[in-house]
Symmetry: C2
Subunit: 257 residues, 2 copies
DNA sequence: CGATCGTTTGAGTTTGATCAAATGTGGTGG
DNA sequence: CCACCACATTTGATCAAACTCAAACGATCG
């Protein structure tokens, strides 16, 4: 269903706005026609990944920036003994590895959690951006700062909140992030995670995920069935998770509910 | 003692290397004489903060970048009900708020945990950097990517590791970060935290911090007295914390122990 | 020399993990 | 269409990690 909505946008609107990255960068600045063209021109080969495939692996050389066009992916790290922590979810418009500049190798992996379409922008193109398009560079930089803001909130989540609060918070966050790219319909969005995946995200065991989900459901806040999350009472969910959307730095137009 | 070592460096070396920010940026690239001069020229008024003072507060307008010259500070967020999570430690050379570009307001606060000296680089100067010095811009950007890498590891810490492992991991991280700027002597470094502060960092209660510290001490890995942390057995501490320094992206010259 | 703040210890409680097993559910092939 | 398999969810029982509360003890400082 994600793909059908992208198709709809591509028919109805200009190429610029159909490009998820340009839409994302436009949240921060107004890109000139030239800058948009540069982004589109730099967008190279496209790749498809199946559910579960690694898009980038720890230790890989960072060759360029991969932009998610469709689907959802996640960053994660695995400890020697198998424990796994999800670090972020990537939705259309997000970049996998603006780490091109950081050392040569990825210090974590990224996996597709649905069928995911990715476009590559070469390292050379990004370097060229920084040389020629200061405004575009700032917009890209802004993306990394936004990622950071989200990670800070996740730190608070894992460090201070209870399992119940964490889960409520995560569901609120995804509601707003996906809402901002038009992927929320009827107070519902696609969240193709298993309970194990949720556990690896929230730092709790699968069993406890299950009980916490039941708790949220019994209180009438959400339902989560076969990868579809429905929010029945957003204000209640937000207060359950101590959620405050400021950190997402959404533009006003995205903030209406 | 931090301040005396800075003074020593300033006498013995060129002004460029004495500037903590230039030293930090030099980890990523070679700055030209002109770029160094631009950084030094942009370094404006200096401010002193006492232990416990807020350097920046949540909601503040971001006016410019503040660089830590001496001392240690921490980023933190507080929930409505008082729970507090430390998000990062800032040591000399680190920047408080490269968030100048992100929305106007800080979404978290920064506090001095020792007497801290800070220099301000105006927003205009940073914008000018991005217009005129692509190489310098990339170096600044790299700093935010490094911050991100550290935050990712903290996420793993809070999400997956036990209290004992978390603490071991944190002590390893600070050992290497402070070591890279010459602040480790005799396997010891200044870590001016209370047990409450450690708890807010590691997501555990003060009481549990105390017991975990005792545990680490009894096993002969560290001692932590009056703000001085001594590492008695670094390899053991690293394996206790599942620590792998790759994520710090240290240069080889810093990696010797 | 109180007063304040930080550390330490003990006892009881809670949260969440682990282990084990039962119960869906969706797909595949006969 | 059914049997079967793999995988995910749900439930119960037990256990361990970490929290809370309470109190004592130790520094440090005006």
């Amino acid at each position: 269903m994600a793909s059908s909505s992208v198709a709809a946008r591509q028919e109805g609107q200009s190429q610029e706005l159909a490009h998820p990255l340009i839409r994302k960068l436009s949240n921060f600045t107004v890109l000139s026609r030239e800058e948009c063209a540069a982004v589109i021109k730099a967008t190279g080969k496209m790749f498809d990944f199946r559910t579960g495939d690694d898009i980038v692996q720890r230790g890989d050389l960072t060759g360029g920036v991969q932009v998610v066009l469709e689907g959802i992916a996640c960053r994660y790290k695995i400890l020697e003994d198998g424990r796994r922590q999800v670090l972020a979810y990537l939705i259309p418009g997000d970049m996998c590895d603006l780490h091109v500049f950081l050392l040569n190798r990825m210090d974590h992996s990224i996996a597709a959690i649905t069928r995911t379409k990715v476009a590559v922008i070469s390292r050379a193109s990004v370097l060229a951006f920084t040389d020629q398009y200061p405004n575009l560079t700032r917009a890209l930089w802004w993306c990394t700062l936004l990622d950071e803001a989200i990670m800070r909130e996740w730190l608070v989540n894992l460090g201070q909140r209870t399992a119940y609060e964490r889960m409520a918070h995560l569901f609120c966050e995804m509601y707003y992030r996906l809402g901002a790219i038009g992927e929320v319909r009827d107070r519902s969005y696609v969240l193709p995670l298993t309970q194990t995946g949720l556990g690896d995200t929230l730092g709790i065991s699968t069993v406890h995920v299950n009980r916490t989900l039941q708790d949220l459901r019994e209180r009438g806040l959400i339902t989560f069935r076969s990868g579809l999350l429905t929010v029945h009472d957003l204000p209640a969910l937000e207060s359950a998770g101590f959620f405050n959307r400021d950190y997402l730095h959404l533009r006003d137009r995205d903030q209406k509910d």
